[in-house]
């Protein structure tokens, strides 16, 4: 029986953390909703299992996503995670093969050198020692990078790095000590016995030359064990909890579980899966354009983990979704933020270390609801009946050029349509939702839904991506919901209207709620490519920027918005386009104030490109452009099309 | 060009001093008459000027240099009793009996500040803690801004349009400088007394000059001064000698009551008594606002109804210092043309 008291800290830590993780996982599982439990069971015993294992390997060990975003950061994460995994994996094999017996206790593998100091002198043993030294060296390079990052983040390509709590710092120190202490302990032991490979052997020889290596090794083995034990014990109350939690998250996600709009196990697992890598911080325009550096996803989750008040952080976000699309762990940051917004400034009771380990379920106090309706004053008018109902939206009423263009296009299409909010409508409800006021939002949603149902619409067209998103996601409508860019595209495709070609160089800005928010990328770009010289930009699709005008953020003032708008306008107009096209009245209004380049909504450009028919009573398009568009023959082959192609329901 | 000729300039405020200096440098000999003992007009009473809080003394010393020419003969403590024109020359008799002659006359009699005691409801001259804007400048200059009992005031109010835009006192016009003066003084009060709260009661904020609106915004954003739209209808002295004011908060349509430690009345500008006297003596026409009537609203603001008599500065309408100095320079060119026999009327 090989035993030495120095392994006790390690053993305590290891068994503690293993037990803790098992219990925590069980508890998470128990707290899952019934449907989510079923999903997880099905996922665990189905196809998702293999998928999850693969993802665990690719992401949790290799950190492929971080590699994609940032090579040096990816290498840092990989060397630590994958390297440690290899060290344990091969260490266990090493102990199994070269140890006194098979199937050893874990400490035998971890402290193999201590118990087998003579090991690795020659042949296969030496080769294996070489492998182990190689892995250790691999980890140490990553560790070096991590230390440099901590003090000088741009080295790893990060502009900003997360700030640490006191417990984080203790755990971090322990983590940093693990591998150097192993290196020195192994080296000293190797030096004393003349074993060890290129790293530990060489370093050991050097040290043994002027130090009593044999006697000095022992304290370092203690240090190594204490560092490991401390790290494991601290793990549950630090961000390093992400290491075990992420595995659970991957299984849950692959089983089809999502954040949803309520606090639950999944969002808690997500919260603990964040490694604070900081990619969300670099992606955030509030950070790089407006200098707001303490509200990003990593901070939100950190504060959630620490039980701090997150109401201020939750409120200060554009909800543009750039961080969601870039998070290497796949944490749904925006939905988590929305949960916090709904809960107002309600806080968790967790304040002390004890609760950190055995925390209460992250239940939130019930949000107080007003029973009286907020919008009882809304009239129940009867809308005009039409197949196509156009809803301009509040913001479009401040950019009448867009609604005017849409009316011109609708007139030209010859379809039966009505302008639902001609005299000024009721808000779609999304701004209320974004402020966490779902109950109030439901009131206006019900009101608008009633109007749309009564209008008999088969297609609901809106000019505002904000309205579009909420119409699609939160309204229960019989009508097909289209953004005007989709609708115009369909009119063109079905030959209802014809377009001239505008000889203009256009760059397209994808609005957040239309693009990342609703996945509508191609139609606007195809339409623009059809009527103009659309240039590819550097911020396309998932990588598009927010204009800064977002209604989701009520905290930043006009100065902050202006900074974001100027920054993004500068980036989008770097190629000197004639027109910066967008598909959102709010984007248009926000960007217009930040650039000298003409900013136009896609509907305005379409109306300008519209081939006019001289029909009595037809409202002439108001061409903003001074030069007349050229008719390009053959672009639109005469395609009579019928209504059924536009309105599939008919 | 050296010119022969002599001009009598009445009033040695900023307009009179500027017009005299310009004329003298063109070779015209000037007799500058001032009824008070000192030159410098109202500006010398102003501690700091809007919109940049510069020292009023700067402008006074500038004017002193400008008018300090050997061809300018300054007669202070002198008033004109008679003014007539004989054989192409103006003859003036002073109260002291001395005779002056000139080829032309420039009236630069400026304005008088409205006598705030005429707005009885504010209790000026009766309540201990009601003062005028001009008195506040004196307090700033003395470096002592306290209530009558010597305490540091915590709440201070400014009433705009006292004696302006008020049919009850016969002044229908806007004095146009009081708004910006109130804003300037409110900021200075906040600077001097950082714990104080300052309220401006206005009818309209007329911030038309260069940098005025910016100053207004600064007053709101940086100094937290409250602007309440409504004319103070009455002020009453409380038992502790503070002032209770009543105003309608017109933008919510509710009456508002407020207790203040000090109340400052933004005195408007009126035609000066001296100017009114000159207009009677020389037969100069005045407008309904009692200021001297210009021969043309657009291009005749330096001339009136008597040939050879020119107007400079705020004897024609309320003007700020910048406008007064420009108007005075314009008057000088009109005088020079006249002396050269060029009649551009």
């Amino acid at each position: 029986m090989q035993f030495d008291p120095f392994i006790i800290p390690f053993n305590i830590g290891l068994y503690f953390i293993l037990g803790y993780v098992v219990l925590r996982s069980l508890r998470w599982f128990m707290e899952l909703s019934r449907p989510d439990k079923l999903r997880l069971q099905r996922g665990f015993f189905g196809r998702a299992f293999g998928q999850s294992l693969r993802e665990i390997f690719m992401e949790s060990l290799l950190h492929r996503s971080i590699f994609k975003a940032n090579f040096r950061l990816g290498y840092m994460h990989m060397s630590l995670a994958f390297g440690w995994f290899l060290l344990i994996f091969f260490g266990t094999i090493e102990a199994d093969i070269f140890g006194e017996k098979h199937l050893n206790a874990p400490y035998k593998a971890i402290f193999f050198k201590f118990f087998n100091p003579e090991h690795g002198r020659s042949g296969f043993e030496a080769a294996y020692s070489f492998l182990m030294d190689l892995i250790l060296a691999f980890i140490l390079t990553g560790l070096l990078l991590a230390i440099v990052k901590r003090f000088f983040s741009p080295v790893v390509g990060m502009k900003k790095t997360t700030k640490h709590t006191a417990t984080d710092r203790i755990a971090l120190t322990a983590l940093w000590l693990i591998f150097p202490s192993r290196l020195i302990a192994e080296s000293l032991t190797s030096g004393a016995y003349g074993t060890g490979s290129f790293l530990t052997g060489s370093l050991g020889n050097v040290l043994a030359d002027f130090l009593p290596a044999g006697r000095m090794a022992y304290p370092f083995w203690w240090l190594y064990s204490i560092a490991l034990g401390t790290f494991f014990i601290m793990l549950p109350v630090t961000r390093y909890m992400h290491i075990p939690t992420e595995l659970f998250l991957i299984f849950m996600r692959n089983s089809g579980i999502r954040t949803g709009d309520r606090q639950g196990t999944y969002s808690e697992v997500e919260t603990f899966s964040c490694s604070s890598c900081g990619i969300c911080i670099d992606a955030c325009q509030l950070n790089f354009a407006a200098g707001v550096t303490d509200i990003q996803g990593a901070y939100l989750l950190k504060n959630l983990r620490n039980g701090a008040d997150t109401s201020r952080i939750a409120a200060n976000c554009l909800m543009c979704g750039r961080c969601d699309s870039k998070c290497p762990v796949g944490i749904e940051l925006s939905p988590i933020r929305m949960i916090r917004r709904r809960s107002g400034d309600a806080q968790w009771s967790y304040r002390n270390l004890y609760n950190g380990y055995l925390r209460n379920r992250q239940s939130l106090p019930q949000v107080k609801k007003e029973l009286k309706p907020s919008f009882g004053f809304l009239r129940k008018d009867d809308p005009d009946q039409a197949d196509v109902v156009y809803f301009a939206g509040c913001m479009t009423h401040l950019t009448p050029s867009i609604s005017r263009a849409m009316i011109n296009i609708l007139e030209a299409s010859g379809l039966s349509y009505s302008f639902l909010d001609k005299g000024g409508g009721v808000c779609c409800g999304r701004p209320l939702m974004l402020a966490g006021k779902d109950h109030e939002a439901r009131e206006v949603i019900n009101h608008n839904s009633g109007l749309i149902w009564k209008s008999g619409a088969k297609i609901l067209v809106t000019s505002c991506p904000i309205c579009f998103k909420v119409f699609r996601e939160s309204y229960h409508l019989d009508a097909e919901v289209l953004h005007h860019s989709q609708f115009i595209k369909r009119l063109v495709d079905t030959g209802k209207i014809k377009m001239n070609f505008l000889r203009k160089k256009v760059v397209y800005h994808s609005p957040c709620d239309l693009g990342r928010g609703s996945g509508i990328y191609s139609e606007p770009k195809e339409l623009l490519a059809h009527i103009s010289r659309l240039e590819p930009g550097s911020f396309e699709d998932d990588n598009s920027l927010c204009c800064g005008g977002s209604l989701a953020n009520a905290v930043i003032g006009s100065k902050g918005r202006k900074k974001i708008a100027s920054d993004m306008a500068g980036k989008l107009t770097a190629m000197h386009p004639d027109i910066l096209a967008t598909a959102c009245p709010l984007c248009k209004k926000t960007i217009s104030n930040a650039t000298g380049v003409r900013v136009a909504d896609i509907a305005e450009l379409a109306a300008e490109a519209l081939v006019r028919k001289t029909v009595p009573g037809f409202v002439q398009a108001q061409s903003v452009s001074s030069d007349a568009p050229d008719a390009v023959s053959g672009v639109n082959s005469a395609n009579p099309g019928n209504l059924s192609r536009v309105c599939p329901v008919n | 060009m050296i010119m022969a000729g002599s001009v009598i300039v009445i009033g040695a405020g900023s307009a009179g001093m500027e017009v005299s200096g310009v004329l003298a440098r063109s070779g015209v000999s000037v007799t500058l008459i001032e009824k008070t003992a000192n030159t410098g007009g109202h500006v010398k009473n102003w501690h700091h000027l809007f919109p940049d809080h510069r020292d009023g003394a700067d402008v006074v010393s500038y004017m002193g240099v400008r008018a300090g020419h050997k061809l300018v003969n300054i007669l202070t403590g002198t008033e004109i009793r008679e003014l007539s024109r004989k054989g192409g020359k103006f003859h003036a008799t002073t109260e002291g009996g001395s005779e002056l002659t000139g080829d032309a006359v420039v009236v630069a009699t400026g304005f008088d500040l409205f006598d705030c005691s005429r707005k009885e409801e504010y209790g000026y001259g009766i309540y201990d803690n009601v003062h005028t804007s001009a008195e506040l400048e004196e307090m700033f200059r003395a470096g002592r801004l306290t209530t009558a009992s010597g305490k540091e005031p915590e709440k201070i109010g400014f009433v705009h349009c006292v004696g302006s835009r008020d049919e009850k006192v016969g002044n229908l016009y806007c004095s146009k400088l009081c708004c910006v003066t109130a804003v300037k003084q409110a900021i200075e009060v906040r600077k001097k007394l950082p714990r104080s709260k300052v309220f401006c009661f206005y009818m309209d904020m007329r911030m038309g000059g260069a940098s005025y609106e910016e100053l207004y915004r600064e007053a709101q954003e940086e100094w937290g001064i409250s602007f309440i739209r409504g004319k103070v209808s009455e002020a009453g002295e409380m038992i502790d000698h503070r002032i209770q004011v009543k105003v309608e908060d017109t933008l919510v349509g509710r009456p508002l009551k407020l207790e203040l430690d000090m109340l400052f009345l933004m005195a408007g500008m009126e035609m000066s008594e001296a100017g009114a006297r000159i207009s009677r003596i020389a037969g100069l026409k005045t407008g309904e606002n009692r200021f001297l009537l210009a021969s043309d609203n657009h291009y005749g603001s330096n001339r009136g109804n008597v040939e050879g008599i020119f107007y400079a500065g705020s004897c024609t309408a309320p003007m700020n210092i910048t406008e007064t100095i420009s108007h005075a320079r314009a008057a000088a060119t009109e005088v020079i043309d006249y002396l050269n026999g060029i009649n551009l009327k």
Binding site: A315, K372, P431, G557, S558 | -
Partner: protein
């Protein structure tokens, strides 16, 4: 009802000195841009809710600043947060935050949600 058949009526006068201005101070501390308001009414004239009912952010802001809090709690709830007011404000007042902070202030001070 007493035996006189009438009672002292509550005046309409705003008593600035006795009113509780803590809600206004809370809002201004969180959103200092409110100080720049010139009460022009741009917000109220473009207001989506104001199109249907007597809701005026301009008036609300003034009452808030004066500490006339009684009617505000119910009035604030009429806002749909659509953000048009923020876009039209000539002084760059972050109006939506003003409303949210005012709601928060009343939530904190009153044991009752806006």
């Amino acid at each position: 009802m007493n035996r006189f058949g009438f009672s002292l009526s509550k005046g309409r006068q705003i008593n600035y000195d006795t009113n509780d201005r803590s809600a206004a101070e809370y809002v201004i501390a969180g959103e200092p841009s409110l100080l720049a308001c010139i009460e022009c009414g741009g917000c109220a004239s473009t207001c989506t809710s104001g199109n249907f009912t007597s809701f005026s952010l301009r008036q609300l802001n003034i009452l808030l600043k004066r500490g006339e809090n009684d009617s505000l709690r119910d009035e604030l709830r009429k806002c749909m947060l659509c953000g048009k007011c923020t876009l039209v404000c000539p002084r760059g007042v972050n109006t939506r935050n003003v409303i949210l902070l005012a709601m928060e202030a009343f939530n904190k001070s009153q044991d009752y949600a806006v």
